[in-house]
């Protein structure tokens, strides 16, 4: 059976898969949060906020994720900051936060596009009805934005799940790491990585289907 090796080393593969799932979820949630905040900053009427938002996006989008992960893993302790005194907890959190800040930059660009796509007339109407800027965002602009940006957000989500494999470079025992350990012990490279590939697909394909379903449900007639 293809990928059967996963059942010979369930401890490695399924623990690895669970770690991948955890990092993906934590990373996705923080990327959505960071991305939304940054996008709102980028379209805000207050110029310095726009600059900070733009700087954030340009910095995190234009540096390699591996470099960012190494910075969180070994660079931050250099200036006296660590996410946990326990090394393994530290690298796990560094990986989750790294996924969040990096993909947050992409989410910010997508959400910004969505925000700008909301009809100007609606915003003016909301303001003239007496809604404050924040109320207008909360009740008029953001709800419409999220409906329209579900497909590109889904892409970022899928990319994020796959990019969690880079956490193995800072020693996080996620799915790819598990496959590499199995490979180095058994030398059955093809089987070891095929099993990992199938397990990644078992995460990304359902995610893709979920995004499509959500997109259909939330579709607004315009």
């Amino acid at each position: 059976m293809p990928g059967g090796i996963a059942f010979e080393f369930p401890q490695l593969y399924f623990t690895g898969l669970w770690v991948t799932i955890q990092i993906s979820i934590l990373g996705l949630l923080s990327a959505l949060f960071i991305g939304t905040v940054v996008a709102v900053m980028r379209v805000s009427p207050f110029a310095p906020l726009r600059w900070i938002g733009a700087a954030y996006v340009e910095f995190y989008r234009n540096t390699p994720l591996v470099v960012q992960l190494f910075f969180l893993f070994l660079g931050l302790p250099l200036i006296g900051f660590r996410f946990s005194t326990d090394t393994f907890e530290h690298i796990f959190r560094a990986a989750s936060i790294g996924m969040g800040v990096y993909h947050g930059a992409y989410v910010a660009e997508v959400v910004r596009g969505g925000l700008l796509g909301v009809d100007r007339g609606q915003i003016e109407a909301a303001r003239s009805l007496g809604l404050s800027y924040l109320q207008m965002l909360r009740y008029v602009q953001l709800p419409q934005t999220f409906r329209s940006v579900i497909p590109p957000l889904g892409n970022i989500g899928i990319a994020l799940v796959k990019n969690t494999s880079l956490a193995s470079t800072i020693g996080v025992t996620e799915l790819l790491f598990a496959a590499e350990i199995v490979e180095s012990r058994t030398f059955r490279a093809e089987e070891a990585f095929l099993a990992a590939t199938l397990l990644y697909l078992s995460l990304t394909i359902p995610l893709g289907i979920a995004v499509n379903t959500l997109e259909r449900r939330m579709l607004v007639a315009r």
Binding site: F73, L74, P77, L78, T87, F88, H90, I91, T169, I170, G171, T173, F177, E180, I181, E183, S184, R185, F187, A189
Partner: protein, 301 residues
């Protein structure tokens, strides 16, 4: 107008084909010329052997790592390779292609990591792997090894002010950094009966960083690699006795259907020669003595 364009396009295609043919045509005679020029100094091999086919091809592909002081380093500024394993590889090249001031012209360096050593042989990406490659039974099932060309053992690197780790047994409950896919990782697990917490990274320089930043309590691997790390950071020290014996061999693809005939024997004979004429001792003195402060004449000293 349309006809003119078409003729022009056809002309372009013809010109291209002509150039391609001429290019191929001129390359062959010059290669033959180079081969005849060096024939006089070249060793003679049996036609069936792999070393003969390498000699005919004019290139040997040597797999080694880019950051594995003092065994192999690629100078990031000059792109030049250096180290014990690298110099050893050049000796092999000389044994195949004849004496040369610049054996590198016969060598294609293939960068490998611990985890890619075996695949690069089985997938025929490299002819030999010379990279602190420990001979063990599992690996022997996959590839062939030459006789031992280097003997060392695993020890522990800690920060200078560390007094709690003195021997392998003290690693229990501690975070120990090692390279992924290496025997070092398995030795740590064995020596502490699984009580150590291995932090596995891609290279030993990364492990040294983790040690410096307090992310690892110790780094453990072959003593010779630790020598290189201890030299890079004077705030570290090497402790403990050998808790494993590491015998390095040169890795070669298994001869399937005679495609590596006589190659391992040839490499073994080359090594015997290097030990007898003192080249092995010279390499040891040049690359290993500065960090180990000892001298050896043979791998078994």
């Amino acid at each position: 107008m349309r006809g003119l364009t078409r003729t022009f396009a056809l002309g372009l295609v013809l010109a291209f084909i002509a150039t391609a043919c001429t290019g191929g045509g001129t390359a062959t005679p010059s290669a033959t010329a180079a081969a005849t020029a060096s024939t006089s100094t070249r060793p003679k091999f049996d036609l069936a052997t792999y070393q003969y086919s390498l000699q005919t091809k004019g290139k040997i592909r040597i797999g080694t790592q880019e950051d594995n002081t003092p065994f192999s380093v690629k100078n990031p500024a000059t792109g030049k390779w250096d180290g014990f394993d690298v110099a050893y590889g050049r000796e092999i090249a000389k044994a195949i292609f004849g004496e040369s001031d610049d054996p590198d012209k016969f060598i294609e360096w293939v960068p490998v990591t611990s985890a890619t050593r075996i695949p690069s042989l089985t997938d025929n990406k490299a002819d030999v792997i010379i990279k602190t490659f420990t001979i063990n039974e599992d690996r022997k099932k996959q590839i062939d090894f030459t006789d031992v060309y280097f003997r060392t053992g695993q020890r522990i690197l800690v920060k200078k002010d560390n007094t709690s780790i003195k021997e392998a047994a003290d690693l229990a409950g501690k975070t120990v950094c090692a390279q992924r896919g290496s025997t070092s990782e398995q030795n740590i697990t064995k020596a502490t009966t699984g009580a150590a917490r291995p932090l596995l990274l891609d290279s030993y320089p990364a492990c040294l960083l983790a040690l410096q930043q307090g992310q690892a309590d110790a780094v453990s691997t072959d003593e010779t690699i630790l020598f290189g790390l201890a030299k890079a950071d004077p705030n570290t020290k090497i402790v403990g006795k050998y808790f494993s014996t590491e015998l390095y061999g040169i890795g070669v693809k298994k001869s399937v259907g005679g495609d590596r005939t006589g190659f391992v024997d040839f490499l073994n004979r080359t090594q015997v020669g290097m030990i007898t004429n003192g080249v092995w001792a010279t390499l040891y003195e040049k690359y290993i003595s500065p960090v180990s402060f000892d001298k050896k004449r043979t791998p078994d000293d």
